[in-house]
């Protein structure tokens, strides 16, 4: 009697977990299976769509890499990501340190103020920014995104850095200063080496944030060869009214995998950042 009750409990628990995971991950299974199906198999109303009814094919991948700008888009995304990460580090690293070491309510308000700009959505600013971008002559160029993306990476990363630096004891720098370092020297020589994990987290996050952005890219860039991968796949693999689903899903899958892995690895730090260090 007890055993049956236990079995029912376990079974319903696992059923709930499986349902949940299916809901979350099914679209990715769908990308995967679509990537390797032949067109004849994909566009057949009679056959079971969940599994292969014809031999799997690499044709969609071949087409994607040889006949489309997919590699160019990946390359563009990488350029944008790397440049934005560099700008973000240069600006947010000293800002986070400054906020961590400044005392008083002013510093705290300033920190919160900078963080709040992370809440300002692209939807509010894409119209004026598209004018700014075209005045600067950056329209249709990926450099417009390199310019604009730091507006959301800097606030968030400054906030993350502030948290990291607060956890580094002040005494370490003071010791370095007593030993003859300048305050800046002490920061570079003692605090930075201790913050490598924090810096790594910020690098990953700034990069994934640039990968996830869509609105600014859609607004600023219309030439195919300047697009980042998230935009190019969504807009340029559709010819006229015809969707090339095999290629589309292959492209979406390939571009998603690295972002998903990076995100999962650094998730906990991201959460403690977003809750303002509420959870340690």
């Amino acid at each position: 009697m007890r055993l049956t009750k236990w079995l029912i409990g376990e079974a319903s628990f696992y059923a709930a977990v499986v349902t949940l995971v299916t809901f979350a991950a099914f679209p990715f299974y769908w990308m995967l299976i679509t990537t390797f199906k032949t067109d004849g198999d994909l566009y057949n109303l009679k056959s079971n769509p969940y599994w292969f009814n014809a031999a799997p094919t690499l044709e969609h991948l071949r087409y994607l890499f040889n006949e489309t700008l997919f590699l160019q888009w990946l390359y563009n995304s990488a350029i944008i990501g790397v440049c934005v990460v560099v700008i973000t580090l240069l600006v947010a690293l000293p800002a986070g340190y400054s906020l961590a070491r400044m005392s008083g309510r002013g510093a705290e308000s300033l920190g919160i103020g900078i963080f709040l700009t992370y809440l300002v959505p692209p939807t509010l600013l894409f119209l004026p920014l598209s004018r700014v971008v075209s005045v600067l002559g950056l329209q249709d160029s990926l450099w417009s995104l390199v310019l604009v993306y730091p507006t959301f990476t800097i606030p968030f990363c400054t906030w993350l850095f502030m948290g990291f630096f607060k956890s580094v004891p002040r005494e370490i720098e003071e010791a370095a200063i007593v030993d003859g370092c300048t305050a800046v020297g002490a920061f570079v020589k003692t605090v930075l080496p201790l913050s490598v994990p924090g810096i790594l987290t910020v690098v990953i996050f700034a990069f994934t944030l640039t990968m996830q952005e869509f609105v600014y890219a859609l607004t600023f860039i219309s030439s195919s060869d300047e697009k980042p991968v998230t935009l190019g796949v969504a807009t340029d693999l559709v010819r006229g009214d015809i969707f090339y689903w095999g290629e589309l899903m292959a492209a979406a899958l390939i571009a998603s995998v690295p972002v998903a892995i990076a995100y999962n690895l650094f998730l906990d730090r991201f959460i403690s950042g977003i809750t303002g260090g509420a959870v340690k």
């Binding site: 628990f13 977990v17 949940l20 809901f23 979350a24 679209p27 990715f28 769908w30 679509t34 566009y43 109303l45 240069l90 600006v91 000293p94 800002a95 400054s98 906020l99 070491r101 400044m102 919160i112 900078i114 709040l116 700009t117 809440l119 300002v120 959505p121 939807t123 509010l124 600013l125 894409f126 119209l127 004026p128 920014l129 598209s130 700014v132 310019l147 507006t151 800097i154 300048t182 305050a183 800046v184 994934t208 990968m211 869509f214 609105v215 998230t230 969504a234 589309l248 979406a252 571009a255 998603s256 972002v259 998903a260 959460i271 403690s272 977003i274 809750t275 303002g276 509420a278 959870v279």
Partner: protein, 309 residues
């Protein structure tokens, strides 16, 4: 010997002296961040304010002042009213589904079981993957002819094979579709927030309550919820802001259609301001987001303060 010291010291001391002063370094270090934000967030915002009271279009870039007539035009428009309602339905719907699913999933994933790490990684996917790519998969799943959802519904006998549900082609279904897709995207965020919250509840408090006879629901709503409330509020605000201002999901799935049936503020502003080039009216539509953002910020700050106490 004496000449060397007098020669070298003054040259080296001054910059050292400046770099030693915390009151100099502090502002110097934070200035670039503030300038970046001012130039590329605050300035565009004021530009948007200005566009909203001018007659600016990309075909006639004049900054002629027209007062509040743009606002009146927008508020009088039937499409705009429809859009406003859609935006609220979309936001509230996605939030409620996302939160409920998030809490439920977090409670499941709190338990130790084999494969928990993998389950968590898979559940987080919708939030981690770039929105435009994930939405493409849904677009394919909602395909008018080869929709796997329809196929499944027919296969388990819930749907007559003759009726082809047009998930993105009928107004009510399309609204349901964009809301569910956004909730799908959002709920993993709820999951991780709730897990973080649950782990922060001290075990002894729970044990004490159990000893005192508090049941499952009582523990849930009178002990756990008040403790994790500030974090949940912060998460809720992020979720609400991201949903309320979203344009990617709607743009990619339906472009606001059919017949503006799924138009939300973001997608309408894009259509008016970018596609039709009417920057002034587009700016007005965007500015309707602002009061809600302001409320969100106020609630956020209060939650942040409560957390510190």
């Amino acid at each position: 010997m004496a000449t060397i010291t007098t020669d070298v010291m003054p040259r080296r001391r001054r910059p050292r002296y400046l770099l030693d002063r915390v009151d100099v370094i502090g502002p110097l270090f934070i200035a670039p961040a503030i300038i970046y934000v001012l130039v590329l967030v605050a300035l565009p915002f004021f530009l948007a304010l200005y566009y909203s009271v001018s007659a600016f279009t990309i075909f006639d870039p004049s900054y002629r002042f027209v007062g509040f007539s743009n606002f009146l035009d927008v508020m009088k428009s039937e499409i705009f009213r429809r859009t406003l309602i859609n935006t609220f339905v979309f936001t509230i719907g996605a939030q409620v589904i996302g939160l409920l699913l998030g809490k439920f999933a977090a409670m499941l994933l709190m338990k130790e079981f084999p494969g928990r790490g993998l389950a968590r990684a898979l559940v987080v996917l919708p939030w981690a993957v770039p929105v435009s790519l994930a939405t493409l998969a849904w677009q394919w799943m909602f395909d008018s002819l080869y929709s796997v959802i329809n196929w499944t519904l027919v296969a388990i006998g819930l749907l007559n094979p003759e009726t082809h549900l047009q998930w993105l082609g009928q107004q009510d279904l399309a609204m349901l579709a964009v809301t569910v897709v956004h909730a799908w995207r959002l709920f993993p965020f709820g999951v991780v927030i709730f897990i973080a919250g649950f782990t922060s509840v001290p075990k002894d408090v729970l044990d004490a309550a159990t000893v005192d006879g508090a049941g499952f629901w009582r523990r849930n709503y009178q002990i756990i919820l008040p403790i994790i409330a500030p974090i949940v509020v912060i998460a809720l605000i992020f979720g609400t802001v991201f949903t309320f201002t979203d344009l990617s999901v709607v743009y990619l799935l339906t472009k606001g259609g059919p017949m503006n049936g799924t138009q939300v503020l973001g997608s309408l502003a894009f259509q008016v301001g970018i596609m039709s080039g009417d920057v002034a009216h587009g700016a007005v539509i965007c500015l309707f987001l602002f009061p809600f953002l302001l409320i969100a910020v106020v609630v956020f700050l209060r939650a942040l303060r409560r957390r510190e106490i």
